[in-house]
């Protein structure tokens, strides 16, 4: 006996809206490069548009917005530990850079 599994059926408008938004966000992130912004404001916009696009894809195209919290948290919580790895490797990279600057650059 099969479980009564919920099928992911949603109005076509939802998909078209997300599709359109992804196009707009891609244009905007391309404009970040094209406009020649520098420094913090450039990184801020790159990361902002990146997360917005990723969120739209996961939530609507991959149907995460309509899934139960059990599977949402099983998939979306574990990658958070990557922040620790980023932190560790940033420290490591700075150490490498410092060592190179101290011993290998005349």
């Amino acid at each position: 006996m099969e479980h009564a599994e919920q099928q992911q059926q949603h109005p076509i408008g939802t998909y078209l809206w997300v599709w359109g938004l992804l196009f707009v966000l891609s244009v905007l992130s391309y404009m970040v490069d094209y406009s020649g912004l520098e420094g913090f404001i450039k990184w801020f916009f790159i990361v902002l548009f990146m997360w917005l696009k990723a969120g739209l894809i996961v939530a609507f195209f991959m149907h995460m917005a309509w899934e139960r919290l059990a599977i949402i948290s099983a998939v979306l919580v574990p990658p958070a530990v990557l922040a620790v790895l980023v932190g560790l490797m940033a420290v490591e990279a700075n150490h490498t850079l410092l060592t190179r600057l101290t011993f290998f650059i005349e």
Binding site: A4, V18, S29, I46, A54, M62, E67, R68, A90
Partner: protein, 236 residues
């Protein structure tokens, strides 16, 4: 046990539902077919692989004393007289997003049992994916001719080539396999294997339209990874 409550009776929402689902001692992921849950688990592991590549790239880029090549001009294209920065990458981005859109629609029409529309959209998705890989091959050829190698390049930090070939190569491989799966799925849909619940030749599992959605998860993931590569490798 006199009163066995059936699992479907008491599905609470929210945090309470989360605890109940996980502690129900039988099936944590309700309302999704196992194939879909397993695809999510696979994608989770793939997330870690790509994350390790991107974090490795971050590490070598932060640690190098030489200037990082300016991606904006490295990936520029000559159009007429002008050099348009990142043009090829922008086009590839739009192609991949378009393919994600057609994939999402294929899933929708699959559940509505529109066989022809589903197959057509799957094939359009595959063609867009193949176009993406083709443009990537062009990009690789161009860079290799300009002297980019995994151990060096004409413009600066030698780690640039290593990161570039590893990250885009692994992503391109994912796209290529996705195209292959899309073609197989399109054939299955076209010949009615999903409507007739015909067993697959490899696993023997009965055909069903959830397969299109599971396939879609993989494809959207490939698009998702590109979002991060585009931001961190090309724009940063």
């Amino acid at each position: 046990m006199a009163n066995n409550v059936s699992a479907e009776d008491a599905l609470g929402p929210g945090l309470r539902g989360l605890v109940d689902d996980w502690s129900s001692d039988q099936r944590a992921f309700k309302d999704v077919p196992w194939s879909k849950a397993m695809m999510w688990i696979f994608l989770l592991s793939d997330t870690f692989i790509f994350a390790c590549f991107l974090i490795g790239y971050m590490t070598v880029r932060m640690g190098t004393t030489e200037p990082w090549p300016d991606t904006s001009s490295v990936f520029a294209l000559h159009v007429g007289q002008a050099n348009i920065p990142l043009l090829l990458i922008a086009i590839m981005t739009f192609i991949l997003i378009s393919s994600s859109g057609t994939m999402a629609l294929a899933v929708k029409y699959g559940y509505e049992r529109h066989r022809q529309a589903t197959a057509t959209l799957l094939i359009v998705t595959a063609v867009l994916g193949a176009t993406f890989v083709g443009m990537q091959a062009f990009e690789w050829t161009k860079l290799i001719q300009e002297g980019v190698r995994p151990w060096g390049n004409p413009w600066g930090a030698p780690q640039f080539g290593a990161s570039f070939f590893l990250i885009t190569g692994f992503h391109g491989t994912h796209v290529s396999f996705g195209v292959l799966f899309l073609i197989i799925m399109a054939v299955k849909v076209l010949r009615g294997s999903l409507d007739d619940q015909r067993p697959g030749f490899l696993t023997g599992r009965r055909g069903r339209y959830e397969m299109v959605e599971t396939m879609g998860l993989y494809w959207h993931f490939v698009d998702l990874v590109w979002v991060f590569i585009f931001a961190f490798f090309y724009l940063w």
